[in-house]
Symmetry: C2
Subunit: 354 residues, 2 copies
């Protein structure tokens, strides 16, 4: 604590992202990136944006990108908000929609940035425990609340809620905002998009960092009733008028237009998840049923921390959270066939040399 | 106001940026962009970043960019913070350094985003009037304050404070943060960089959108004591771990390395400012002495709003602020020689047809 800091700066407990190390020949399965690259059309669009026009500010409203996303999802442009990664969209959502007198509810085990945002924006909040099988129980959310946010599929468990459960959750709470963070939905969940009609309290958040393989470009978005979107726009225009640069807007737009590439990439990841899950189970791991581009797994022979350390010593990076309930687990991103092979080889080696 | 909004969302008065219209053959002198393009090395670096590696998150600490900036400015890497445009850097500065019990002070006429940030983060603030010649008087800041922020050169006046005045201001207030927003300093001001040693309360904010002609890439930064930088990092890591994508980090780094291009571009703008100022004065405008890449001018024959409207009708876009004290003025960005010619022709035509 420095004497010039605000009280807020001193009170924060910042989020710690997964490492981005520079290790040669690393198998990087720690931050849920796509093992396959982005659409070639997206890359071409980013290159084309690297022109003299970079001297000009980008469109502050990201009109073309929002129109393209609206057409893709079958909604109106006024129902789309875009931000500098879904993390920024989430931040504006906490400030503009989730801070009320009654507490915000979210699962005890979920994206660990949620409590960080709550602290940053002074949002009263309560966590709701997952059940013993690490599932969200929507009945547990029937209590006084100012707003609800959950990830579907949830992170880091990978477990999905059915569309009918999501519908029940929203209909249980028509008077408060319900946010569904669909960062991983393309890999196996059913999107709440089908529930938008007649539900002005539903906000869906998406990212281009996972299924669209554009983590390095920083684009996320929200879909919902134009009334909710307006709140996000008001916060954004009080924070940063131009969150998305020209390369980001161009690349993201082109990615959405290349649907065949997108679908093929998702299918490859889903096949990889199946192979990885079977391989890990064969080695004695317990693997939660994943609908995401990662699996959450534990093995009774070693603690989660020891597994992560032993894998790292073999140049395989996975994510370990030293937190209650999940400290025995590893979150392992689905890699390429080769990467999955190297992961399983490393696990075998660890078990053998234990 | 929608019933799902937070109180904050309803209370905000968002900043309104200058237009980014698509009008054919437009002379765009409304948002202080560079009339010349970015460094070819920066463009090449953005293109090179459009690779398969875009599937990976960027370096959350922007290590290479921060090292490059540190070397360029002769400071330590721990003294550099980078953000998604200087607007994001300013936002984090308001949250992390400028919110105290005593009011934040800034000029009554300055960057109009400051009061918007103050509202967003609930920062108590007071404005300090410019003198009759539209100058900042540092003696007027000798009053109880929690922090001070000012732009040097100031916007939209373009008027610069001397380095000795800035030094006095900081030394008058050793116990509170003093932020100098140097968005336009490359065009004629003396940077407070020379004052950093022994002044742990000084934070300098820069942008790559003006003198580096990279408004479309969204990169800004702060320079100061590592204690101040840490406050910004804590807020940033509670908001968005990865504010700068790979193309932005690569392009910005390459721009800093191309110093010859940078200096030549600034010199051309300074020459253009001289020509534009002389041309406007010859037409009867009163032009404030500018050290920026724009001039602030008025002409008694027409109101500021009427000037802006008449110029727009001739496809020349300038910025007009309908606010007390400055509603008679136009803020006109320095353009190319051709653009300056078209501006002056349009002004002549307006005066002739009045």
């Amino acid at each position: 604590m420095n004497r010039y800091w605000t009280d807020l700066a001193g009170e924060l407990t910042p989020y710690v992202p997964g490492e981005q190390p520079r290790i040669a020949d690393l198998v990087k399965l720690n931050t849920n990136e796509s093992p396959y690259g982005p659409s070639p059309l997206a890359l071409e669009a980013v290159r084309a944006a690297a022109s003299e026009a970079l001297r000009l500010y980008p469109d502050p409203e990201a009109g073309e990108l929002r129109e393209t996303l609206a057409a893709y999802h079958g909604v109106d442009k006024s129902q789309i908000f875009v931000g500098n990664g879904s993390d920024e969209v989430l931040a504006h959502t906490f400030a503009g929609l989730l801070n009320h007198d009654l507490p915000l509810l979210f699962p005890d085990i979920t994206y660990s940035f949620y409590p960080v945002y709550a602290k940053l924006f002074g949002v009263a909040h309560e966590t709701v425990a997952l059940d013993a099988a690490m599932r969200i129980g929507i009945a547990d959310y029937r209590r006084p609340a100012g707003a609800i946010i959950l990830a579907n599929p949830n992170a880091p468990t990978g477990i999905v809620l059915s569309l009918s459960d999501i519908a029940s959750l929203i209909d249980d709470h028509p008077d408060i905002p319900v946010v569904v963070d669909e960062a991983y939905v393309d890999f196996g969940g059913e999107s709440a998009l089908a529930l938008l009609a007649g539900r002005p309290n539903l906000l869906i958040i998406r990212t281009m960092s996972k299924s669209r393989a554009l983590a390095g470009l920083r684009v996320g978005y929200a879909i919902g009733d134009s009334g909710l979107i307006e709140a996000l726009t008001r916060v954004k225009d009080s924070f940063n008028s131009y969150p998305l640069g020209r390369p980001a807007q161009a690349g993201a737009t082109a990615s959405v237009r290349d649907d065949a590439f997108f679908r093929a990439g998702v299918e490859k990841v889903v096949r990889g998840r199946q192979a990885m899950t079977e391989g890990l189970i064969a080695l004695g791991f317990e693997v939660l049923p994943s609908s995401a581009n990662f699996v959450f797994a534990r093995h009774t022979d070693l603690s989660g921390a020891d597994w992560a350390k032993a894998l790292r010593a073999r140049a395989v990076l996975v994510r370990h959270f030293g937190k209650p309930r999940i400290s025995d687990y590893l979150r392992i991103t689905v890699g390429t066939e080769t990467e999955i092979g190297r992961l399983l080889d490393a696990c075998r080696d660890i078990l053998h040399n234990r």
